[in-house]
């Protein structure tokens, strides 16, 4: 009997390597868990058949192109799209023997923080199905939390890996921009998009990152890692300098339950030997979200111009000429959130407004980069809450786009600066997971894994949602 709810990827690999379990049995166990629980949770948009092999299964966010497997990006406009090539991250996974288990739900074009913007219906949080799993990668995070995948791929533009990982109680890495290829990934905001791992443990997360990272000739924004990925082993934090940006821990949007757990985690860092100090990132918090909601929609409006009904994807049958084909295809194919962002982005880039909006936002980005660089002169790692709140109820913020945008208040600034960030679960508030976000300088993933691992061992967070355990 394979207990997918408690199995880490590392343990699953050991079971297969020692021939206690075959690859086919392992794949079948996850398929069985999916058949049983996914009708309620809706983590998956497509589930794959086992094509043989002994490698581990992996769930893949549906913005990542998979050859021969539908890839919808959570949008009607790509409902019947089947890629004819694999994204580089998929090719890398396959080279390591990993097998695609299925495609996970996402906010449409990864635009959202709750997975409610999926054209195919929301995903539910395994800790409490009346609540959202976060987003946009809610499907991947919920699948890993519910034991419906040993690990998963996500993508992160302003928090879409870190925030759902926090709300579902798993470990998620947004890598340094440029370390993981975007080739074959549905583009949202190209200067921000990064693919990264979602896992049950820090070690699994680090191992999956080692598979994904590296230069890809097909994506000229990628670079080789300056040093290899090290699997973390140390359980102390001696000599590590950890900075706590006060604005990020004292902001009024942060729930008391979240604040208390983050404070306890900061104390734990001290107990583990870290040097802990306060720092300040005032403009990152005040201007991060406005800056993001100019740059991301501007780039999205350009990237989403390709959905025109000509080469792939949906085409409206209700058009008499080509102009109508474009406008009706896009009206009928896109949901509300992509339309909002296309309109905001097109407006911000249009003649007469470029300098005031997009140009100014790019300068703000420089300010955020400098502010973080200054903090890293004194500290190796910054620690903040990942999400200001625990998972909220479905529908709670759906009618108010601006309220929804504030979910990413704490994750956006480091994304704008191109920095890596790791979510590590730090406890439960009201029975729901809370995570801390560890931010480091560019290419500091090994440090983040080391700190995350030491905290993980000391906290001893149980990633199994009690109601899932009861259902087995």
């Amino acid at each position: 009997m394979i207990d997918t709810l408690r199995l880490s990827a590392y343990d699953a690999l050991e079971l297969v390597r020692s021939r206690q379990v075959s690859g086919a049995e392992l794949f079948a166990a996850y398929r069985e868990a999916i058949d049983r629980h996914d009708p309620e949770l809706h983590c998956y948009l497509h589930v794959c058949e086992d094509e043989g092999g002994d490698g581990l299964p992996i769930a893949v966010k549906d913005v990542i192109g998979t050859k021969g497997i539908p890839t919808t990006a959570g949008s009607r406009i790509l409902e019947h799209y089947v890629p004819v090539y694999d994204a580089t991250v998929i090719a890398r996974c396959k080279q390591h023997g990993l097998r695609v288990l299925g495609k996970t739900n996402t906010d449409e074009f990864a635009m959202g923080s709750s997975t409610e913007n999926s054209a195919y219906g929301p995903t539910r949080n395994p800790w409490d199905p009346t609540r959202v799993p976060g987003g946009s990668g809610g499907g991947s995070a919920a699948a890993v939390a519910a034991g419906l995948a040993p690990w998963a791929l996500g993508s992160d533009t302003g928090g879409s890996i870190k925030q759902p990982a926090a709300l579902c109680g798993n470990v998620g890495l947004r890598p340094t921009y440029g370390t993981v290829s975007r080739y074959g990934v549905v583009a949202f905001a190209s200067s921000l998009d990064q693919v990264g791992p979602v896992a049950r443990t820090v070690r699994d997360c680090a191992y999956l990152y080692s598979i994904l990272a590296g230069r890809d000739p097909c994506d000229t924004t990628t670079v080789d890692l300056p040093h290899g990925v090290e699997l973390p082993e140390r359980t102390d934090l001696n000599g590590v300098r950890i900075g706590v940006p006060t604005e990020f821990t004292e902001h009024e949007a942060i729930e008391p339950g979240v604040r208390a757990l983050v404070e306890r985690t900061v104390d734990l860092c001290r107990e583990l030997g870290a040097e802990v100090g306060e720092c300040s990132l005032p403009r990152s918090l005040d201007y991060g979200v406005p800056c993001y909601y100019l740059i991301a929609p501007a780039e999205a409006s350009s990237n989403l111009a390709r959905y025109d009904g000509v080469r792939y994807g949906y085409r409206s049958p209700n058009a008499d000429d080509r102009y109508e084909m474009y406008t009706r295809t896009r009206d009928e194919g896109f949901g509300d959130e992509p339309k909002r962002r296309i309109m905001v982005g097109t407006y911000a880039l249009s003649a007469g407004y470029y300098d005031a909006y997009y140009g100014q936002a790019q300068k703000v980005r420089t300010v955020l980069i400098r502010e973080h660089a200054e903090a890293f002169e004194r500290f190796d790692v910054l620690l903040t809450p990942t999400s200001p709140t625990v998972a909220f109820e479905l529908g709670a913020k759906a009618a108010n786009p601006l309220a929804m945008y504030l979910n990413d208040l704490l994750t956006i600034p480091s994304c704008m600066a191109g920095l890596p960030g790791l979510n590590v679960p730090c406890g439960l508030s009201e029975g729901l997971p809370v995570g801390v976000q560890l931010i480091g300088p560019q290419f500091s993933e090994n440090t983040l894994f080391a700190v995350g691992y030491a905290l993980e061992q000391a906290i001893g967070f149980d990633p199994v949602p009690p109601r899932m355990a009861a259902a087995v």
């Binding site: 339309k339 909002r340 420089t366």
Partner: protein, 103 residues
């Protein structure tokens, strides 16, 4: 973001239609009304970036110091015509087929 900041530039219906045309979106009257109000709120909120005097600050388009990337100009395998057309909504021979006319 502050809620009641002075609205600097309200987007009127005519501007909304112009932007929708640029974005090739046909919006229903219903959508125009709903999106119009939300758009004004969003633009108002993001206009906060204009509070900062950044005349001396260079813009960032890319967070890494990647300058340029050159590849050898050598032919490599690429998609076949059939693969390229595999997802076409409509094709004729080796071409994507689209309706005629319109701007």
């Amino acid at each position: 973001m502050e809620k009641n900041r002075r609205k600097l530039m309200a987007i009127d219906r005519e501007q909304l239609l112009h932007v929708a045309h640029l974005a090739r979106l046909e919006l229903s009257d219903d959508e125009l009304e709903r999106l119009g109000a939300q758009l004004n709120d969003i633009i108002d909120a993001v206009s906060k970036v204009s509070e900062l005097d950044l005349s001396d600050v260079p813009p960032t388009s890319h967070p890494l110091d990647v300058v340029n990337v050159w590849e050898a100009d050598e032919p490599r395998p690429c998609l076949t015509v059939e693969e390229a057309l595999a997802n076409a909504p409509e094709r004729e021979g080796d071409y994507f087929k689209v309706p005629p006319g319109g701007s």
